[in-house]
């Protein structure tokens, strides 16, 4: 699909431009991670250098292909397809022109056809099929690469069959809990109400995760189409997209795409000529991790403190402004157009047991090859971290990986045979959450990481439940005493007790799952939970 999309686009563009003089086309990502390592400066340097040399060229800002270790990765369009170069620094630009990179010339930075780069070639890109290829702000690009066909199929089959298709595909929520999307949609569809809502959770607060951000920056229309299909399926006419404020680039791209979708009649009244109206309002978070929890997010949209609501009622029955509401993660909704367009069968054919389809896994931290790697569920943790990720960036031994964000467990290399799927991780007292994997080398102190987990919980607690609000603060203090050598064995027992209390006495997963990183650190790395003085003696 990626190759297909790219060649289709190139083809159409060539035809459209057949009358014009041949203008070289250069692709430079505008993804925030690429920008953070200099992509804007590289784009500018290429433009300046071309001007100096009297060369006419188009610079197209795309999303990222996801191989973030190669960013800034620059691509050029040649007669034989695209050729990639990277990582390109400003100082490399003149040399690239000398090497004739505009026609795919040889250079030490030449990576060859991007789709043949092993990190990219080994993926099964469904959600990220267009990311890094198309101009994310161009609704024309979206249409030319098969966009809106999922929605057209939904219109043709009707709301009930649309929901059935999603259910049969096996698509589960990618925000963390893994709840089946089709069942959630059906609940909302079956609840009669004059007004219903689709809320997209783009709060992506989990550290170590960035796939929502990359999707919004690289293929925003896919998310819009996903929300549109959800709205049509359940009978909602309004959507809210809640993006965290730490993502200014994603906010800018989504704002532009929403406007463009309205301009071409894909949002607004009578979408696509059908008698169905739908529009989306973008909301910006304000720096509260707990607002990623679905009911806190609804409170936030309603203009209140992000405090978690007790369930029931479920948001599907009484959600935003008391109306039935579908709330789904970005990746959940962005997978929907593909499933509608290609059918539930091909999607469900991927993955393992109850984890169907693909997961955009995010490799970060101390890793050699970090980025987004989309693959069917079922690869082992070791394959992902060692084969795909190439081990640590520091070159040292891996000591631990945290999977699933700040509330996810720490795994030692001994558990690298764990397949990446919801149930397999749960069976080993872990979770895949939103799919983030953060690698640590052997310089990490796991007692400090456990302390951080408590401290983070204390900082972000919404304050509603005592075990979370107070327990997390006690947790920090207790680890400090343990490390200070104040009856360490007793302290350790106390921490374990505290974790039990938090697990069972918390309303949401912030308090309830903070024990995952803490207990896993204790279980797999007990040697770190000693007085600092003793640890020094051991080393």
């Amino acid at each position: 699909m990626s190759d297909f999309a790219a060649s289709l686009l190139a083809d159409l563009r060539r035809k459209a431009r057949s009358a014009e003089a041949d203008v070289a086309r250069v692709f430079v990502p505008c993804d925030a991670a690429a920008v953070a390592v200099g992509a804007d400066e590289v784009a500018e340097a290429i433009a300046t250098e071309a001007m100096t040399r009297g060369i006419a060229l188009d610079i197209i800002r795309t999303g990222s292909r996801g191989a973030l270790f190669l960013e800034p990765m620059v691509e050029v369009e040649t007669a034989r397809g695209r050729v990639a170069y990277g990582p390109v620094g400003v100082a490399d630009v003149a040399g690239l022109f000398d090497a004739g990179f505009l026609t795919g010339g040889d250079d030490p930075l030449r990576l060859g056809p991007p789709e043949k780069i092993p990190f990219i070639a080994r993926q099964k890109r469904i959600t990220f099929a267009r990311c890094g290829i198309v101009d994310p702000r161009s609704s024309t690009d979206y249409t030319l690469t098969g966009g809106w066909q999922g929605f057209d199929r939904a219109l043709a089959m009707g709301p009930a069959e649309t929901i059935e298709t999603i259910t049969r595909s096996g698509l589960r929520g990618r925000g963390g809990a893994g709840f089946p999307a089709g069942i959630k949609w059906k609940t909302v569809a079956d609840t009669a109400a004059p007004q219903k809502y689709i809320v997209c959770n783009a709060d992506e607060g989990d550290s170590g995760t960035f796939a929502d951000r990359m999707l919004m920056e690289g293929d925003p229309f896919a998310l819009i189409e996903g929300m549109l299909i959800a709205g049509y399926a359940v009978g909602a006419t309004r959507g809210y997209l809640y993006i965290r404020s730490e993502y200014p680039h994603a906010i800018a791209t989504m704002t532009a795409a929403l406007q463009s979708a309205r301009n071409v009649g894909r949002l607004g009244r009578s979408v696509g000529g059908a008698g169905f109206s739908f529009d989306i309002e973008l909301r910006v978070g304000a720096g509260a991790y707990v607002c990623g929890e679905e009911t806190a997010l609804l409170e936030s949209i309603e203009g209140r403190r992000g405090q978690v609501r007790a369930k029931p009622p479920l948001p599907a029955h009484k959600g935003l402004f008391g109306a039935p509401t579908v709330i789904n993660n970005v990746l959940t909704l962005a997978a929907v157009p593909w499933i509608l367009k290609n059918g539930d069968g091909p999607y469900a054919a991927l993955g393992t047991s109850r984890s169907r389809g693909t997961m955009p896994v995010q490799l970060g931290g101390n890793i050699n090859r970090g980025g987004v790697f989309e693959a069917p569920f079922g690869m082992t943790l070791g394959e992902l971290v060692l084969e795909i990720g190439g081990g640590t960036a520091s070159g040292r031994r891996i000591r631990a990986v945290q999977v699933g964000g700040p509330l996810g467990a720490y795994f030692p290399p001994a558990l690298f045979d764990t397949p990446f799927d919801y149930e397999a991780f749960a069976a080993r007292d872990g979770l895949i959450g939103h799919g983030g994997i953060v690698v640590f080398d052997d310089t990490v102190d796991m007692a400090h990481q456990a302390r951080f987990a408590f401290a983070f919980c204390a900082h972000e607690s919404c304050g509603k439940c005592t075990p979370c609000r107070i327990g997390s603060v006690r947790g920090v203090e207790t680890i400090d005493r343990l490390l200070a050598g104040d009856r360490p064995a007793d302290r350790l027992a106390l921490i374990q007790d505290l974790c039990e209390t938090m697990k069972f006495g918390s309303l949401c997963a912030l308090g309830g799952f903070t024990p995952y990183p803490v207990l896993s650190a204790i279980k797999h790395f007990p040697e770190d939970f000693l007085a600092e003085t003793q640890k020094v003696r051991m080393r």
Binding site: A36, S207, V284, A288, G365, N366, G370, V438, D441, G463
Partner: protein, 181 residues
């Protein structure tokens, strides 16, 4: 949220800097009722507009002036206490103006794994104030942020809205040096 956040897992005893008292803020935009009026006029008179209103207020004044709270409350027809409660809940709605420049350092796990703790200590030393504080001369605020979504190019930071990935001590020194001159 509870407890003052003081730079993540770095203990205060390790910082090697003393707290500087809050000084005058050179660039603080003082409260201007007409400007607030223009903001309110752009938003519907309902509570659901509160976060967008507060974001606009911060974009205009760089913080939420205490004087703005009752006027916002009247506009959206809820109590001052309610607006105040929202302002204090969210990190972005500062109640005091920040420094002229704001450096946000990621203190979350992926960045910790790539030397983020040492960078945070270095930043505090160079800036002369701890994370979560503003220099006495108002030139720079240091803030801890928990993930900028740049975990594959860690460690990361944001200086006045510009993103930095693969941040190293030399670059950090340049960045802080530049804003302090």
């Amino acid at each position: 949220m509870i407890g003052a956040w003081r730079g993540g897992i770095v203990d205060s005893k390790d910082r090697g800097v003393t707290l500087l008292s809050e000084g005058t803020r050179a660039d603080a935009t003082s409260f201007d009722e007409a400007a607030l009026g223009r903001i309110l006029a752009r938003h519907p008179a309902r509570q659901a507009a509160l976060l967008p209103i507060l974001h606009d207020v911060v974009a205009t004044f760089r913080y939420v002036p205490a004087e703005a709270v009752p006027l916002i409350a009247t506009h959206i027809n809820c109590t001052r206490a309610e607006v105040h409660g929202v302002v204090t809940f969210y990190e972005d709605f500062r109640e005091r103006p920040p420094g002229r420049h704001v450096l946000r350092l990621c203190r979350a796990e992926a960045c910790q794994a790539m030397g983020g703790d040492a960078l945070a200590l270095q930043a505090e030393r160079l800036a002369g104030c701890p994370l979560g504080e503003t220099r006495a001369d108002g030139k720079l605020s240091l803030e801890a942020v928990f993930c900028l979504g740049l975990c594959a190019v860690a460690p990361s930071a944001m200086l006045d809205g510009k993103l930095y990935g693969r941040l190293d001590p030399a670059t950090l020194k340049l960045m802080i040096g530049e804003v302090l001159t």
